[in-house]
Subunit: 271 residues, 2 copies
Amino acid sequence: MSSRRARPPEAVVEERRQDVLRHVIEHGEARIDELGERFGVSLMTMHRDLDDLAERGLLRKLRGKVAAFPALTMEIAARFREGLHLTEKEALGAAAVGEISAGQTVFVDCSTTVFPLVNRMREIEPLTVVTNSLRVVRILGPCQGIETVLIGGRYNNEFDSCAGPDVVDALGDIRADVGFISATAVAGGRLFHPVQDYAALKNAARGSVHRNVLLVDHSKFGKTATYAHGEVSDYDLVIVDSRTPEDEIDAMIELGAAVRVVALEETAKEE
Amino acid sequence: MSSRRARPPEAVVEERRQDVLRHVIEHGEARIDELGERFGVSLMTMHRDLDDLAERGLLRKLRGKVAAFPALTMEIAARFREGLHLTEKEALGAAAVGEISAGQTVFVDCSTTVFPLVNRMREIEPLTVVTNSLRVVRILGPCQGIETVLIGGRYNNEFDSCAGPDVVDALGDIRADVGFISATAVAGGRLFHPVQDYAALKNAARGSVHRNVLLVDHSKFGKTATYAHGEVSDYDLVIVDSRTPEDEIDAMIELGAAVRVVALEETAKEE
DNA sequence: AAATTTTATCACATAATGTGTTAACAATGG
DNA sequence: CCATTGTTAACACATTATGTGATAAAATTT
């Protein structure tokens, strides 16, 4: 009466694996047999799921259990944040793309928040796009009317981008019309990032850009991380979504920032 | 009595598409119905093959026929060279990996010739790898013991790497122990590349590397391209495969180059 | 409008892949 | 050393994914 074996569409499988990953990250670690039970698959299948996740570098397989990597101050790798708050990020991207005019040089930060924006940029041409994100290059590289310039330096696998002193140096020689920068944590109008190199990078980038735009979705507010990189008033425009806490918006306005709140079309499912 | 429809394994499909592409490149252009007939598939299927190739940017679909892109002096994009002379490239890679010691800084050129070598480099650690190739970064980036440094600059989609003055500048600040460089054409010991930026890049790289190793498979010999970038004697070691023409090897030795010929295990199928 | 070429849709064949079971295999812990 | 526990390999199966050709509809050229 057991023995029900089927083959779910690969999207379903991927979703389950994401769920497993989320569960492991939330609990720090978990027993493999428990996971199999909880997600209603056989032990063997759970092994396969975990092997897959481990191969992607998202968790570690130990004996009998798996463990998440030590949380990088607040959140785990970009690869995981990928699918989160997509509605919000789409809305931010839609609003931000209006800041770009054809022919300009645009700087794009390395952050999952900006990818929807980058996708929309494919329509505009000509355009020169400067970025330290390999992901952005992969999206824009094949586009005809767009010249893509990659800021080189030490490659960071976690964020799929370059960072470090070389990047800061290279930014010194660059001037962009518009720059889109993100933050992983915002509290009281102050911006934070868990990795020093990236905090430094964002500071340097701001100096090389004429009009700075900050993109943050509501999930980033009320949190901090180890390294500060300026505050919202350092930017010419701050774009947030409509689920951003009132008091955080007030704090930003208090600091003299120009804040634009973009509405969300449909209510996004919360996590 | 016709109507035989099956579903060949995807490797077979890919191979046919490569063959179609090769045919189109050799002839410059071809009628679509003729191609379908020649390759023994229906018109519809040939359309699908060509759509796929066109989407990859390997040829252009016109009305009733397809055209190759204007041959970039000699050969078309890296994406096409991909699967060619794999046996030779594997052999070159196997020989070249011996030149690397743990702890060194290694420069790797952007060329399909070096990818088998790069795969083998994953075993060695620690290692610092400097490259202008995004493909190399994608391979080595996730490796634990390897620090990957990407030379940034203007991104070139055709070669999936960065080139241009920024790259040459950045190379000036770098010093590597060993460098693996390739050439797309060699004639009489002189090296050539169809794109000026890349010829300049190879020259600059050579200056930043202590021990220069040149990797060339036999298919590159007896050809030239627009831009020269030095000659074989500029390198400390030249590695070629055993199917390299005698007279070309003699010419290289004449110029004072240290040439190592690596044997091929199995006879590779010629094209 | 007529001819030609492209795309859409269908039905089908088969490859690719997730699944659970069983059993072999490896590793840990007394 | 054995007993226990965890992992991997090998199957058989179910189902999805995908290439294929025929036909017809749509688009383009002449």
